[in-house]
Structures are given as C-alpha cells and as structure tokens.
C-alpha cells in the first residue's frame, strides 16, 4: 500500500464549502470538464498522449502475429494493459494490481476498478472488431495490445485513459499482409501502406463525482435531492467525493458501460440527467478526437509526399 493522500481538515472543509457554493478550486463550474489535450507522437503509429488538466496518460498500441486461443479460432486477441506505477503519484505502489481480492487498501481497489472499467468500456463493448484480426482460422491472428502508462495523477484516470486508448486504436496501423493458403506474407511499412484497425464504435467514459451537503440521514431519508454532482474531478475532489459514477457512451447514444458503485444514494432522475449530459460531452469529445486524427493524417501525408518526391528526384538525377 502506497501512502494515502492526506488532506488536512482545514483544506477539506474549504473545498467542500466552496463546492456548496458552486465554486471549484480551479474556477470551473460543477459540470465543466478540464481541457482535453490529445497529442499524437509523430514517430510512429498508435502512440498517443492525453492530458486532462494535470492528469497525463500515454497509450501505445502494438500488434504481432500469434496463434489464436483454441476455443476462439476465428478471433484475434486484444489486450489492454494497465499498470499504475508510483511514477504518477506516490500513493500507488508497484505490482498492486496482482494483489487481487484479498487486498483491501483503497489504492488497490482503485486500480482494480480503473483497469476493469477500461477493459469493459473498450474490450467488452467490442469497440475493436476482433474477428477482423483473424488471418488464418485457428493458426494465425493478430494480437493487438494497448499499453497504458499513467504519467501524472490529478484525478479522473478513467476518462483520460479511455480517450487515450480509443485515439491510439483509431490511429494505429498494422502492417499489410497477404494470405496464400497457409502462407502469410507480412509487408514492411515502407513497401506497402499499413492498414488501420477496424473500429466499430468509439466509446468514451465520463465520470461524475457526488458530494453530500447534508448528513447521511438526509441522503437516505430526505427528499431534498440536493446532492452535488461534479464532472471530471481533480485529485483533491476525487479524494473527498462520497461516490462516483462512470458512464461510457458512444456517439450513437448507446451506453457501453455504466457503473455507480455505492456511495451516496442518488435519485434516479438525477442519474438520468447525468446520462443525458454525458451524451453531450461524449459527442464533443468524439469530434475532438477525430479533429486531432484528421490533422495528424494531413501532416503525415505531407511528410510522405515529400519522401516520395525525394525518391523521385534521386531517380531523376
């Protein structure tokens, strides 16, 4: 167990009191998200860094050809790897994820939830068409692997990592192949233009945090329903929150995953409002991702054209 992030009572009260008056430490409104910065590293395909305020996450997608699982011969393999190291915040510790159900520390719990959440949002919702990864049924398929690295922690890892994984998957190109019977020829990226993965939809997570301006009793029995709802909490807000809900949506208004694990009891109508609000955010983020991708492909095309011109020139001379 890493060190817990201790917040002095004074600071706690300050933050909560401010929230009650609809003010957040960084000047946002309660339901505002921080600015999302998506940067695609120019060196290769499928390497993306996302920052959400001070929270930073990097995702690298890679692919190799392996034998498919015996019970699923027509499907490729897709894995998402998340390991939270102390690099992003001293309160995470190395190798906690494997400590499993026996461990009860808050940090270990958080890690399980984060990794399961991304797994469910992206993998279970079939964002990546794994059947298209099959090359030769039963003997060869692509194994796509997304490695998530958490670089800095200032709350809301889930939203940031989901955006990072999806952008990386959309951006990634796997080498082109040709199949002749059992023989598979893999072309170098210089020989043939690599091909993108087949992405069926783009799920995006939005996390809400709940705060209770009154006592527990009011939450259970009261009829005020004035619990505070925050979107995209920072670290300190996340620590002080009394409940979270993460909803994953795509732009087709489909819920891919929804989890509100205990905490404060929230009226059903408020939850529905959250869902609707989230769907707005999702379509905005979706546009942002595609904007970034478009710009990147433009840049890459320019580079490629230059290269081709160079080759042409060399031949000329």
């Amino acid at each position: 167990m890493g060190l817990d992030y201790d917040i002095s009572t004074n600071e706690q009260e300050f933050v909560l009191e401010a929230l009650k008056q609809n003010v957040r430490l960084d000047g946002r409104k309660l339901l505002d998200m921080r600015d999302v910065k998506i940067s695609i590293l120019p060196s290769e395909y499928g390497h993306v860094e996302v920052s959400l305020g001070k929270t930073r996450v990097a995702c690298k997608v890679s692919a190799e050809i392996v034998k498919p699982y015996e019970d699923r011969p027509f499907e490729g393999i897709f894995q998402i790897n998340t390991e939270i190291s102390p690099m992003c915040s001293p309160f995470f510790e190395i190798g906690q994820g494997s400590s499993g159900s026996g461990s009860n520390s808050r940090q270990a719990n958080e890690e399980v939830l984060i990794s399961r959440m991304i797994e469910k949002a992206v993998r279970r919702s079939n964002a990546l068409d794994i059947e298209s990864l099959c090359i030769v049924a039963g003997s060869k398929c692509w194994a796509v692997r997304a490695d998530l690295h958490f670089l800095n922690y200032d709350g809301n890892f889930i939203d940031a990592s989901c955006i990072a994984v999806m952008t990386a998957l959309l951006h990634f190109r796997k080498p082109d192949i040709e199949v002749a019977g059992e023989e598979v020829v893999v072309y170098d990226t210089n020989q043939r233009e690599p091909v993108p993965l087949s992405i069926l939809h783009v799920p995006i997570c939005i996390t809400f945090n709940f705060y209770n301006p009154n006592g527990n009793e009011e939450n259970v029995k009261g009829e005020l329903n004035n619990e505070l709802i925050l979107a995209d909490a920072s670290l300190i807000e996340e620590r002080l929150s009394l409940g979270t809900m993460t909803i994953t949506l795509n732009k087709n208004q489909e819920i891919c995953q929804l989890l509100k694990s205990g905490g404060l009891n929230i009226d059903a109508s408020l939850i529905m409002n959250c869902c609707l609000y989230a769907s707005k955010l999702v379509s905005r983020l979706n546009d942002e991702i595609h904007e970034v991708l478009k710009e990147d492909s433009k840049k890459r095309r320019n580079v490629r054209e230059e290269k081709e011109l160079q080759v042409f020139n060399e031949r000329e001379s």
Binding site: D4, D6, S101, V112, L242, L258, K260, S261, G262, N265
Partner: protein
C-alpha cells in the same frame, strides 16, 4: 518531493472502522466446473462495488476500532450475481444486528427487443443487455447501477424505473421475512 513519502502499511486513521467483503465462487457453483484463479479480477471488482455500496449504508460511525467482515459464498450460480450478493448481505447484516440506515435491495433488469425483463437467469444474461440496480429502502434513490453491455440510452429510463419497482417489492418480501423471524424469536423468549 515525492521521495520524501515513505511507503508504509500504517493506516491514516487507526481507529477507523473497516468493512471487508469477500466473495467466494467455488467450482461447484456454476455449470462449468472451472477452477478460478484466486485473484479473479471480476470477483475483486464485485467485492469492491459491494463494499462501496454498504460503506454508506452501514452506520459505520458506530463501529470505530472494529472490522465488519462479510463473506459471501455462491452456492449455485444462475444469473443476478451482484444483485443476489447485495440482498443476501443486507439480510445477513440485519441478522447480525448491525445498524443500517435502510435495506439495500438489488435486482437485474434486462431488455429483449422492446420488452423489459426483471431478474434474468444466466442464459438470458449471456444474450441480453442488462443492468443491475440497487435501491435504498423505499426511496427512488439509487445506490448501485451496473451495466456492462451496450444499451440504447433512451431505454435506460424505463429499465431503471422497472428495476426500482422490483427492488421495492423485494424489500417488502425481505421485510416480511425479517419480521417473521423476529416474531418467532420473541415468542420463544416468554
């Protein structure tokens, strides 16, 4: 700055009450007799979700310096795992005389085409999209929502309202049982 933090097992508040929930899924409980790894991430996730559910429902402030340990053993699995765990924990806590703000009841609701279904079995769960909904007491307040499948956003409202009704009915049934057991206990005290 970060290096000044020592990693130690010292808890921030030594007096704070601890709630621990462990789910046990033995091989004989489901159709395929499969040995599960000890640190099954799915079960770990469920136990964390349940823990968070009850952390705010148990009046933990009355249990300083104590550990409340809940162990759930799945005897036979046929759908609605999280919901059943939730209901059984509520009843077990009441039986143990632990202070709760109210009952937490949970059910699964699924959707087939346009029809909403209550409490799916494992075959239905495998093929249909479903949500687990947990409600506290007789209110419309949701303690727990879990959805792992794709589901059109405009259907959710109907599912949730059906789920809430289901939970209220469950609460009634649980209530009757608790009273029955209580009356029986009292009658033997005379």
């Amino acid at each position: 700055m970060d290096t000044t933090y020592a990693s130690s097992a010292v808890k921030a508040l030594p007096d704070a009450p601890v709630l621990s929930i462990l789910i046990n899924h033995p091989p004989f409980a489901s159709m395929e007799r499969k040995k599960r790894p000890r640190n099954d991430r799915r079960l770990a996730e469920l136990s964390i979700i349940l823990k968070r559910c009850f952390e705010k429902t148990i009046m933990l402030q009355n249990y300083a310096r104590s550990v409340i340990e809940v162990t759930v053993t799945i005897l036979s699995f046929d759908g609605g795992l999280l919901a059943t765990c939730c209901n059984s924990i509520t009843l077990a806590l009441i039986d143990a005389g632990i202070s709760l703000y109210d009952y937490v009841t949970a059910v699964t609701v699924g959707i087939y085409d346009q029809t909403a279904l209550l409490d799916l079995n494992s075959l239905e769960e495998a093929d249909l999209s479903f949500i687990t909904i947990g409600v506290v007491g007789d209110s419309d307040k949701l303690n727990l929502i879990l959805c792992e499948d794709r589901l059109p956003l405009d259907r959710v409202e109907r599912l949730i309202s059906l789920g809430i009704e289901g939970c209220h009915r469950l609460k009634q049934l649980m209530n009757e049982t608790v009273r029955e057991v209580g009356t029986d206990l009292l009658s033997k005290k005379q």
